[in-house]
């Protein structure tokens, strides 16, 4: 009965989405207030029914209802409770339901936090999101019903893929989807602005916080995914350029460009059509990612369920959504004004360069990800001969991606200290002079101190310190201009949050680069055959192998190694790497044991038993590896700081007052009020 309620709730949600995707849009076009007013309650109703449906599937998982096909395929009675809850998104159908849940959460958020927006805008934004929702609800109901019954019921389930039975994975997909789907809000704002024909600074200001929040979630989601692959997939790699990873990375790259482009549109009114295009791209890439992961056109370790028939559905959906958006863009964008002019070297031009670099980076990732597909298709239609095969893997991505990012990082330090409209190059050079010289000196010397010198390490350190010094310079200059009668801490707290957020996020990039560089250059790893009592020394630590014991898990049997770590003869830690065999799927899994610290990880994994109680053991010393994820966290926190900026709240309040007083909002100012940007507009 419960699964049927879940299915029925989905159908009700679809009906509501249909209303939401039509009436408010027509109402906004024809000026019918009652139709526009429908948008909010219908979106909220849809949220309620999607939650009901999701709860029903979760219920079926928790109670191990194996008469539901999806549950039988992805759960097992021995599966621990947490993975029964997380198992809901362990396969295609459930992931899709999670996607829809996220979309309805975002719609609910729009209904709640949009009181300061004109009715027309709200109706259009929710209308566009409603249409997206219609597409996904149709997809799940007609091709991927998670509530399909299995009669007679299976005696037990086939268990969740062991790779997914991990706490990291319990939170990774929700975070990632929250980010993915979050770009639908920026997309809906862009389409709403195109529909309304009013593309201006106000629109940018409204959609900016939404974009930042989505970007934060995506950043955290990708970082969690990377962390997961670090300790579950294998021997400590943190990024594999796998098609599914790329699918989440492309929207992130474009989303990063979008955040920066929105800043220019808001402050200076420039790049309007470009910003709209980026908003369309960011969401299109999210949809494309879904297509790639779910259609099976590319094979990947992550594509746990793929089906060409579903691929066709998503492709058609993609064509409708992206095709119509781009047509609308081609129709409306030419009428958009150019906004404020700017000189060859100015903050605008630097941000434009940043946008171009990030978009190029996304394009190269797209090209690399789809290369096998392109070649196949060209061979199939006879354009290319069958011998023209190419291969694309990590080597390609590292080769094209790193140089692009090098330029982006260089500009990242220059951009924030450049003036709007027209920057003075000699003056900027003077301000960055010491930071530049010092970072070159550090980049030359530091590799020697760390062990041995290499070009790649030196370059990475140069990039990181270049950013660090530029951030320090920017902070210092800002602090000097604040009132000097307060303490330094008070002055720091007095700086605009959006400025602090930007600096923190940029600092996060530096931390990330340091992590990547140092782990790439100074990781030490040993493969050793160890018998009980044997020791091995790696990175100044001594590891003693104290044998392996057999430990039963809830749904697996584990061989648990006992390894004691000593530093200078002093016992430090006992590590327990495991080799697990999951009972149902008979798949062996390597669970590494990690002693994590801020400056280094000690990573131990069990290999194979090699007889007489001996095992092959892998021991790693990984310096600064945690900085990779620390950097991501700092980027996300930077976003959080930026959206907590006071001007968003004052802005919302003013807009509400304006709305209440019945003022005509149809002609919002094209340039922001000086009071709101005082802090940013100063050199």
């Amino acid at each position: 009965m419960i699964p049927e309620i879940g299915h029925f709730a989905l159908i009700v949600a679809l009906c509501m989405a249909l209303v939401q995707g039509t009436l408010p849009l027509v109402g906004a076009a024809r000026g019918i207030p009652r139709w526009m007013a429908l948008a909010r309650p219908v979106a909220q109703g849809q949220f309620v029914f999607v939650v009901i449906s999701y709860a029903c599937l979760t219920y079926a998982f928790i109670h191990s209802d194996f008469s539901v096909l999806y549950v039988a395929e992805h759960s097992n009675s021995a599966l621990p409770l947490i993975y029964r809850i997380a198992g809901v998104w362990g396969g295609h159908e459930g992931s899709l339901l999670l996607w829809i849940l996220m979309l309805s959460i975002w719609m609910l958020a729009v209904t709640v936090f949009s009181r300061h927006l004109p009715e027309e805008m709200v109706a259009r934004v929710l209308g566009v999101m409603g249409l997206v929702s219609v597409g996904f609800l149709c997809f799940i109901i007609f091709t991927s019903d998670p509530f399909q019954r299995l009669l007679p019921a299976a005696p037990d389930g086939q268990d969740l893929n062991p790779l997914l039975q991990d706490p990291g994975l319990a939170i990774h997909p929700p975070m990632l989807y929250m980010g993915y789907v979050g770009f639908s809000v920026a997309f809906a704002f862009a389409i709403a602005a195109l529909l309304g024909g009013k593309l201006d600074a106000t629109w940018a200001r409204w959609s900016r916080p939404w974009t930042t929040v989505a970007w934060m979630f995506l950043t955290c989601g990708i970082a969690l995914g990377s962390w997961w692959s670090y300790y579950v997939l294998g021997w400590g790699g943190w990024w594999f350029w796998d098609p599914v990873e790329n699918a989440s990375f492309m929207p992130w790259l474009v989303g990063t460009a979008l955040i920066h482009s929105l800043a220019v549109t808001e402050k200076r009114g420039s790049f309007k059509s470009w910003t709209v295009l980026l908003a369309i791209f960011a969401f299109s890439l999210s949809l494309l990612g879904t297509f790639l992961v779910r259609s099976g056109v590319l094979t990947s370790v992550h594509s746990f369920a793929s089906d060409p028939k579903r691929g066709l559905f998503i492709l058609i959906f993609l064509v409708i959504v992206v095709g119509s958006s781009l047509m609308l863009y081609a129709w409306r964008a030419p009428k958009v004004g150019l906004g404020g002019s700017f000189a060859m070297v100015s903050r605008e031009s630097l941000l434009l360069a940043n946008n171009v670099l990030f978009t190029t980076a996304a394009a190269t990732v797209l090209l690399g990800t789809l290369a096998p597909l392109f070649v196949d298709a060209l061979v199939a239609v006879g354009v290319l001969g069958p011998t023209n095969k190419i291969s694309v893997g990590a080597p390609y991505f590292n080769l094209v991606f790193v140089p692009i990012m090098f330029f982006a990082v260089f500009l990242m330090a220059v951009g924030p200290i450049a003036k709007w409209k027209k920057a003075n190059v000699p003056e900027m050079a003077a301000r960055l002079k010491w930071g530049g010289v010092t970072s070159v000196v550090i980049a030359v010397i530091m590799p020697f101190l760390l062990g041995h010198w290499s070009w790649l390490v030196s370059l990475g350190i140069l990039m990181a310190f270049w950013i660090i010094f530029a951030v320090a310079q920017g902070m210092w200059e800002r602090l000097q201009r604040t009132r000097s009668d307060r303490s330094w801490l008070g002055r720091l707290a007095g700086l605009p949050k959006s400025f602090l957020g930007m600096q923190l996020a940029h600092l996060g990039v530096a931390v990330f680069i340091l992590g990547v560089t140092v782990i790439g250059g100074y990781e030490v790893g040993k493969d050793v055959r160890m018998n009980i009592g044997d020791t091995v020394e790696v990175g100044g630590y001594t590891f003693r192998f104290d044998g392996v014991m057999s430990v039963p898990g809830p749904n697996y049997q584990a061989s648990r190694g006992i390894i004691k770590v000593f530093k200078d003869g002093v016992p430090l830690e006992e590590l327990h790497p495991e080799k697990r065999v999951y009972r149902v799927q008979r798949q062996p899994m390597t669970n590494a044991a990690i002693d994590s610290g801020l400056f280094r990880h000690l990573f131990v994994a069990l290999g194979e038993p090699v007889g007489n109680g001996s095992w092959s053991v892998r021991v790693y010393y990984k310096p600064l590896v945690s900085w990779i994820w620390l950097g991501c966290v700092m980027m996300a926190l930077g976003g959080l700081l930026a959206i907590s900026d006071r001007r968003y709240r004052t802005l919302a309040r003013k807009q509400r007052e304006l709305l209440k007083s019945g003022a005509d909002l149809d002609v919002p100012p094209t340039t922001p009020k000086p009071a709101l940007t005082r802090a940013e507009a100063k050199p």
């Binding site: 997939l233 294998g234 021997w235 790699g237 796998d242 059509s273 295009l277 369309i280 791209f281 299109s284 297509f291 259609s295 099976g296 056109v297 590319l298 094979t299 990947s300 370790v301 060409p308 691929g311 066709l312 492709l315 993609l318 064509v319 992206v322 095709g323 047509m327 863009y329 081609a330 964008a333 030419p334 789809l370 290369a371 096998p372 597909l373 070649v375 196949d376 298709a377 061979v379 199939a380 239609v381 069958p386 011998t387 095969k389 190419i390 291969s391 694309v392 893997g393 990590a394 080597p395 790893g525 493969d527 798949q587 062996p588 390597t590 994994a605 290999g607 194979e608 092959s616 892998r618």
Partner: protein, 174 residues
């Protein structure tokens, strides 16, 4: 006006490829080498650089050539399957270690186990190009006369092994 149409045009082209790609099953693309002699090569063995691996020396037996790399995530997925079936001894699996470094590859085998009789170390990918490798993992079934009889693209699963590869191997073994 025209420049605003560019994104749409690019998208249409992209959709063309996706549409075509959907019609093709990536694991069923026929190889031009099907039923042709396997391209000859002579490669250093991965685990023993003084030895070489060459298809010429494998004449007279039915064997699998599995293309893999330590940087390939999907290889990790198929690895337990290969390991399990390599123990059955039904058909010898030879590896082509593709665009990899020796350290990484050896570490990989030690970490995840070694299903291969021997591995050719194709560090610059030349042999891979001769075989038309464009995504790892790929697996070739080669018969007693050294002719490629089947090619599987993408990771080998239990189903692929039992329903696709073994029937061909059994037929070839006669």
């Amino acid at each position: 006006m025209m420049r605003f149409l560019i994104p749409l045009v690019v998208f249409v082209v992209l959709v063309g490829f996706l549409w075509k790609g959907l019609a093709l099953d990536p694991s069923e693309v026929p190889t031009p080498l099907l039923n042709k002699p396997a391209p000859a090569f002579k490669l250093q063995e991965l685990q023993n650089a003084s030895q070489t691996l060459s298809p010429a020396n494998l004449r007279g037996k039915v064997w699998l050539l599995n293309v893999w790399a330590s940087w390939c995530v999907s290889c990790r997925e198929e690895h337990p399957v290969l390991l399990r079936y390599s123990r059955s001894g039904e058909v010898p699996i030879y590896g082509l270690n593709y665009k990899d470094t020796r350290d990484d590859a050896l570490r990989w085998l030690q970490q995840f186990g070694n299903p291969y009789v021997a591995n050719g170390f194709d560090t610059d990918g030349q042999v891979g190009i001769d075989y038309g490798v464009y995504g790892v993992p790929e697996t070739y079934v080669i018969d007693r006369q050294g002719v490629i009889r089947h090619k599987h693209i993408g990771p080998i699963t239990d189903a692929v092994w039992q329903d696709e590869i073994m029937p061909i191997v059994r037929k070839l073994k006669g």
